[in-house]
C-alpha cells in the first residue's frame, strides 16, 4: 500500500497531461491544485510511515526511495507547490500562456520530486537535467521580452555546465565503485571511511559533485545567473529561490557519505561557501536594483548552506534551505502582490514596524560605542554557550559550533535588517530586537538542527563533523569570530547608528575602489566585455 507513495514524481506529469485537454481557463488551476494536493497528502502519509516504522519505502527495483530525507523534503516541496499554484491562479490570469505556465510548473515539480526521491545515480542525473530544461522554459516564460530570454540563456548555460560536470561525476563513480545504487554506494562509502583513503579519483569525484552543486546553487563564481532571472513571473521567482536553487544542498546530502572520504572537498565547500556568503551579502547591500538585491540575498544564503555542508552540518543545511525557502518565497509572493496593489493605490499604509523603528526620535551618541560592542560580541557568545550547554553534550566540540555562532549572529542581524528599516536614532528597541532575533534563531537552529540530524543521519552525524573539522584551536576560532563580529558591528554601526557630518567627510580611495568593485558585482561583466573587445 505504501508503495503508492513512490508514484509521487509521476503525478505532476499526469496533471500536465490532463491540463492539455482542459480548455476552460478557470478549470486549469483548479485541476492543478486539486491533484497537486494529492501529492502533498501522499507526502505527509509517507512521512508518517517513515517516522512511525523507521524504515524507508523502496521500489522500482531500488531506483526510487522515500527515506528520511524525502520525508522532510517532499511534503515541503508539495506544500510550497500548492501555495505557488494558488498564488499563480490570480497573478498569472492576464498573462499569455496561462495553460503553458501550469504545465511547465508541473514538469519542474516532477523533476524536483524525482531528484529528492532518487536512489540511483542515473535517475538522479535524469532528474538533474529535467529540472534544468523545465527551469529554462519557465524563466523564459515571458518569451516576448528580450532580456528575459537572454537571462534565461545564461541560466541555461550554467545549468548545462552543471549537467556535464554531474555526468562526469557519475561516470567516474561507476568506474571507481562499480554501482549506481545510492544505498549500496552509501554503505560502501561508510565502510571505507573507517580507514584512511588515499585515492585521488575519489577526491576528483567529490570535487565534480561539489562543482555541479555549486553551479546549480548559484555559488560564486557561478552565481551570476540567479540575480538576473527576476524578470520571470513572480511565482517562478518564488519557486526558483525557494526550491530550485536548493538542489545543490540536496545533492550533497544525498552524497554525504562520499564526502566523508574527501575531507578536502568539505574544506573547499566551506571556503567557497564562506566567500559566497560574504561577497553576495556585500553586493546585496550596494546594488541599485531591488530584484538583483534579492537575488544576491539568495546567493548569500546558498553560500551559508554550502558552508554548513563544508562544516559537516549536512542536516542543518537541509533545515536552512527549507527555512530560507519559506522566507524567500513569502518575500517574493508578498512583493508581487504589493506591486500589483501599488499599481492601483500608491498610498500604501505604513507598517507598524516602520513606526516602531524608523521614525526619528533621539539624536545618536557615539560615545556609547563600547556598550554596543559589549552587546553585540559578549552577549551573543554568552547566549551561544548557554544554548549549547542546554542542548548539546558535545559542547563546542567541533568547528561547526563556532561557525554556527557567527552564522546565527549574521542571520539574526540580516533578518532584522531585511524586515525593518533601522533608525539613525539611538534606540534600545533596535538592540533588543537584534539580540532577541539572535537568540530565537540560535535556539531554533540548534534545536531543529539537532533533531533533524538525529532523524536523518542518526549516530553517523558525528562522523561528518569529524571529517570536516580543520585543525584550528578553539582559541583561534574564538578570536577569529570575535574579530569578524567586531568588524561587522562597526560596519553596521557606521551604516545605521551614526550621523557623520558632511563637512568632515574625506574621500577615501580604497573605500571608493571597494565600493566600485561591489557595485559592479565584482567586475564580472567587465571581464566578459574585455573578451568581446578582443574579439572585435
Amino acid at each position: 500500500m505504501e508503495k503508492i507513495i513512490l508514484l509521487i514524481p509521476s503525478i505532476p506529469i499526469v496533471i500536465a497531461f490532463i491540463l492539455f485537454f482542459v480548455n476552460k481557463k478557470e478549470f486549469i488551476p483548479k485541476v492543478s491544485i486539486m491533484l497537486s494536493s494529492m501529492v502533498a497528502l501522499l507526502g505527509l502519509y509517507g512521512t508518517y510511515h517513515v517516522i512511525s516504522t523507521g524504515t524507508p519505502i523502496i521500489g522500482f527495483d531500488g531506483l526510487v526511495i522515500y527515506n528520511e530525507l524525502s520525508a522532510i523534503l517532499v511534503p515541503y516541496v508539495a506544500i510550497l507547490g500548492l501555495v505557488i499554484r494558488k498564488y499563480a491562479t490570480k497573478y498569472m490570469w492576464d498573462e499569455p500562456g496561462y495553460k503553458r505556465f501550469f504545465v511547465l510548473l508541473n514538469f519542474i515539480f516532477s523533476a524536483i520530486y524525482l531528484l529528492v526521491m532518487s536512489n540511483n545515480l542515473i535517475v538522479l542525473a535524469l532528474a538533474w537535467q529535467l529540472m534544468s530544461i523545465s527551469l529554462y522554459l519557465l524563466v523564459s516564460f515571458n518569451v516576448g521580452s528580450n532580456s528575459a530570454v537572454k537571462n534565461a540563456k545564461w541560466t541555461m548555460i550554467v545549468h548545462k555546465g552543471a549537467d556535464l560536470v554531474f555526468i562526469f561525476g557519475v561516470v567516474l563513480t561507476y568506474k571507481t565503485f562499480g554501482s549506481f545504487d545510492l544505498a549500496i554506494l552509501s554503505e560502501k562509502w561508510l565502510s571505507m571511511s573507517h580507514s584512511p583513503v588515499d585515492n585521488p579519483t575519489i577526491f576528483i569525484i567529490g570535487l565534480l559533485f561539489l562543482i555541479a552543486a555549486m553551479m546549480k546553487s548559484a555559488i560564486a563564481p557561478f552565481h551570476i545567473w540567479l540575480p538576473y532571472t527576476s524578470e520571470a513571473p513572480t511565482p517562478v521567482s518564488a519557486l526558483m529561490h525557494a526550491g530550485v536553487v536548493n538542489v545543490g544542498g540536496i545533492l550533497l546530502n544525498k552524497l554525504a557519505y562520499l564526502l566523508l572520504l574527501t575531507p578536502a572537498v568539505l574544506n573547499i565547500a566551506f571556503v567557497v561557501g564562506l566567500f559566497t556568503a560574504i561577497f553576495a551579502s556585500l553586493v546585496m547591500l550596494v546594488v541599485s536594483d531591488i530584484k538583483r538585491s534579492l537575488g544576491y540575498s539568495t546567493v548569500g544564503q546558498m553560500g551559508y548552506m554550502i558552508m554548513e555542508v563544508g562544516l559537516g552540518a549536512f542536516s542543518l543545511a537541509i533545515y536552512h534551505l527549507m527555512v530560507h525557502g519559506i522566507f524567500k518565497a513569502s518575500l517574493f509572493l508578498e512583493s508581487g502582490g504589493l506591486i500589483k496593489l501599488a499599481r492601483h493605490d500608491s498610498n500604501l499604509p505604513k507598517r507598524l514596524t516602520y513606526e516602531l523603528f524608523w521614525e526619528e526620535k533621539i539624536k545618536s551618541n557615539s560615545k556609547k560605542i563600547f556598550n554596543y560592542l559589549a552587546f553585540f560580541t559578549i552577549l551573543p557568545v554568552l547566549v551561544f554557550i548557554g544554548v549549547k550547554m542546554v542542548l548539546s553534550e558535545e559542547f563546542l566540540e567541533f568547528n561547526a559550533s563556532i561557525v554556527i555562532l557567527a552564522f546565527a549572529w549574521l542571520t539574526g542581524t540580516q533578518l532584522f535588517l531585511s524586515f525593518f528599516k533601522v533608525s539613525k536614532s539611538e534606540s534600545l528597541k533596535v538592540i533588543f530586537a537584534l539580540v532577541s532575533s539572535f537568540v530565537i534563531i540560535l535556539f531554533t537552529y540548534e534545536f531543529v538542527g539537532l533533531a533533524l540530524e538525529h532523524f536523518i543521519y542518526g549516530d553517523d552525524a558525528l562522523l561528518f563533523y569529524e571529517a570536516a573539522t580543520l585543525n584550528v584551536t578553539m582559541v583561534m576560532s574564538l578570536v577569529m569570530i570575535a574579530a569578524i563580529m567586531i568588524i561587522g558591528w562597526l560596519f553596521m554601526y557606521k551604516q545605521h547608528l551614526t550621523d557623520s557630518p558632511k563637512a568632515e567627510y574625506r574621500s577615501n580611495n580604497m573605500k571608493w575602489l571597494f565600493y566600485k568593485f561591489l557595485v559592479k558585482e565584482g567586475h564580472y561583466f567587465s571581464i566578459l566585455k574585455i573578451f568581446k573587445k578582443d574579439k572585435a
Binding site: G97, I122, L126, G144
Partner: protein, 243 residues
Amino acid sequence: MIENILLFLLAAGLPYYILLEQVSVLKSKHIFIISGVLLLVAIIGSGYIVKDHGPAFVIISLLSSLFSIYRATKTTNFYKLGYHLIVVNSPFFMLFENEGMLYSLALLVSLTGIYLIAQFYEKNYGSANYHHITGITLVRPYIGTYLTFYLIALALYPPFPNSLYFLEYIFNSDPDLLWYLVIITLFFGNFFLSMRVMKKTLFGRPNSNIHYVHMTAKEKATHMFIVVLLLLLSVNGVKEMLL
C-alpha cells in the same frame, strides 16, 4: 576496412554537404533528405558490418563535427540546420561501436520532425528560413510545442531518447581523452544549436508583418506520431539504461 570507410562516409564522418551545396540543382531540402537517407543506410548497415573505427576515424569526424557546428551557427534555415546536425553527431556513431545505432536512429526521428516543421514554414512563409518568424510559442502554441519537443530532444535533454541513449553509452564506456572531447563537443554543440533556434523563432515578440498560420489536423497528427515514436524510443532507452 573498405566497409568501414563506407560506413564512415554514410554516417557523415566527412562534411560532404560542402560538395553537394556546389551542385546547383540540389537545394538545401534535397541535401537534408540525402543526408538523412545515407544515415539511415548507415544505421541499417551497421547491423551487418562489424565496426572497427580506429581513433583516426573518430578524430576526423570530430573535426567535421566542429566545422559543422560553426557552419550551423551561420544559418537560419531549418533544412541546412538538419543536415549540419547529422554531421555534428557523427563522432558518436564512430566512437561507440555498435551502440551509436540507436542514438543515430533517435536523431533521425527528431530530424524528421524538424524536416516537417521546415516544410510547414516553406509552405506558409515562403521558405524554411526561421529568422523573422518570431514568437511562435505565443501565437501558434501547437507548432511551438512540437518544435520545442524536437529541439529539446536535439539539445540532449531527457525524457527524449537522444539524451537517454547518449547517457547510456557514456555510462557504459571507458573514458579516454578522445571520449571526453567527443562528449563535450556533442553535449554543448547540440545544446547551443538548439537553443539558438529556440531563441530566434520560438521566443521573441510575434512579427506583425507575418500572418501566422495554424497547423492542419493532418499535420498535427503527423507530428503527434513523431512525438509518440520519440517517446517509444525513450521507453526503450530507459529500459536499456536502468534495467
